[in-house]
């Protein structure tokens, strides 16, 4: 740091080597591709010696959890090979959930505990086994209590993993239809006719039917 200030005969002194090392470190870290020395130098202030900075940085990282490695004629930061076992979690491919699965999941979240038959009634189509299995496997839903109705069907509820993933503190924090509409998250279509028939009655039933889930 001090070096740059000593006799500064040139207007544009290169930064001290420690500073150059920092620069190389940051660039190698943030870059999506390995970076060549030439590339480094075009990015760094005039007069920098990127090759030397890389050598020093590499030395500094010897024996650490990550290393400076050469890839062709470029440089990159990589995890130390002996720690590869820690990286298994990094290798996840994400794919968007299918529409059927999203709808099924949404119904479970909004209506839990809910039986398969109820889901089918709300969606208006049958729910394939694969969809439920997938959601179970993802641990976003689980089995709730059996319903006290003939046949004692199993119900589904959402899990705490679900809440985590969607950043919710509880399923009851999901906005209702009215709130979705008010927040502009739905197209604002006027309900046809003034008949309020369905809504109050649904809501009433829902609350009454499943007190255990939504109580503190």
């Amino acid at each position: 740091m001090d070096d740059s200030e000593i006799p500064s005969e040139s207007l544009f002194d290169a930064p001290p080597m420690a500073e150059q090392e920092r620069m190389v470190e940051a660039v190698l870290f943030a870059s999506a591709e390995p970076v060549s020395v030439r590339d480094l130098e075009t990015r760094m202030p005039h007069g920098c010696d990127a090759a030397e900075a890389v050598v020093r940085l590499r030395k500094r990282y010897e024996g650490r959890g990550v290393q400076i490695v050469r890839v062709g004629d470029a440089w990159a930061i990589r995890t130390a090979p002996d720690l590869g076992f820690l990286m298994q979690k990094e290798t996840v491919e994400t794919r968007k959930l299918s529409r059927a699965a999203i709808e099924t999941l949404a119904i479970i979240a909004y209506h839990q505990p809910v039986t398969r038959a109820e889901i089918e009634e709300i969606r208006g189509v049958s729910v394939s086994r694969g969809t439920v299995d997938q959601l179970l496997e993802m641990e976003w839903i689980r089995f709730g209590r059996r319903k006290m109705t003939p046949g004692r069907p199993v119900t589904f509820v959402v899990t705490s993993e679900f809440l985590d993933h969607f950043g919710l503190e509880s399923a009851r924090d999901l906005p209702g239809l009215k709130e979705l509409r008010a927040a502009g998250l739905l197209e604002n279509r006027p309900p046809p006719g003034a008949m309020p028939a369905g809504e109050p009655d649904e809501d009433g039933e829902t609350d009454a039917g499943q007190p255990e889930l939504f109580e503190d």
Binding site: A30, A32, T91, E93, K96, G124, M138, L168, L174, L180
Partner: protein, 263 residues
Amino acid sequence: MADATFQDDTLSVADRIAAEALIVDVDGFEGPLDVLLTLSRTQKVDLRRISVLQLAQQYLGFVERAKSLRIELAADYLVMAAWLAFLKSRLLLPPDPTEDGPSGEELAAHLAFQLERLQAMRDVAARLMGRDRLGRDFFARGQGEDVTRIRTLRYTATLLDLMQGYARIRTRDDFRPFVMDRDSVFTMEQALERMRPLIGFAGSWTDLTSYFPEGWDGDPVRRRSATAATFAASLELVKEGHLEIRQSDTFAPIQLRRKDERQ
């Protein structure tokens, strides 16, 4: 003091220019509070020591000018003008001890608080946006690790997907052909059928609601239907001469009694 400072409408030239500039720019404002905040800057004092009376005057002047220039102001600007006119009168007139509700000073203090709070939010918003930011000033790891991958497929969805999915299903119902939901409808025929065997026991005045079938007196939709049907059926029975009906007052309970056949 009030007279000297506020009575005359003659603003200084600078104030006039500022006010004209406001008018030209009226579309750029985010509502009356925003205008008030801008106007308050011409007072060049700490927001905590602002003269609300003077501010009310400035705002009313702003609205007047907009009118004279035939600029359409949105309704909320006019509501604010009306409120400020009211506030102004409260501030200028001696308090009327018979009138309850907040005093002019309390209302003024609250307005000053709102302005100060909005200004504070704007200030911190600017500080927030001026911070070093990820992807602009500092950076995350640019390269995923390439070490021995165990590929697992993970499915994901966002909260918006979820909510929109739900909304899609629920609003689809809005468009289904309109069919009366028979579950929640109690017909007059059903009510008649229910009441005929029961009225024989109604020697004394009984409330109409006691004739509701079980399960129809809780939920408002069902209750409404049961009330209408039972009432219509009662009228039918009155017409047939089996029943008397009375109501002591508008919205009072409706009561029924068997009509004594001998009379």
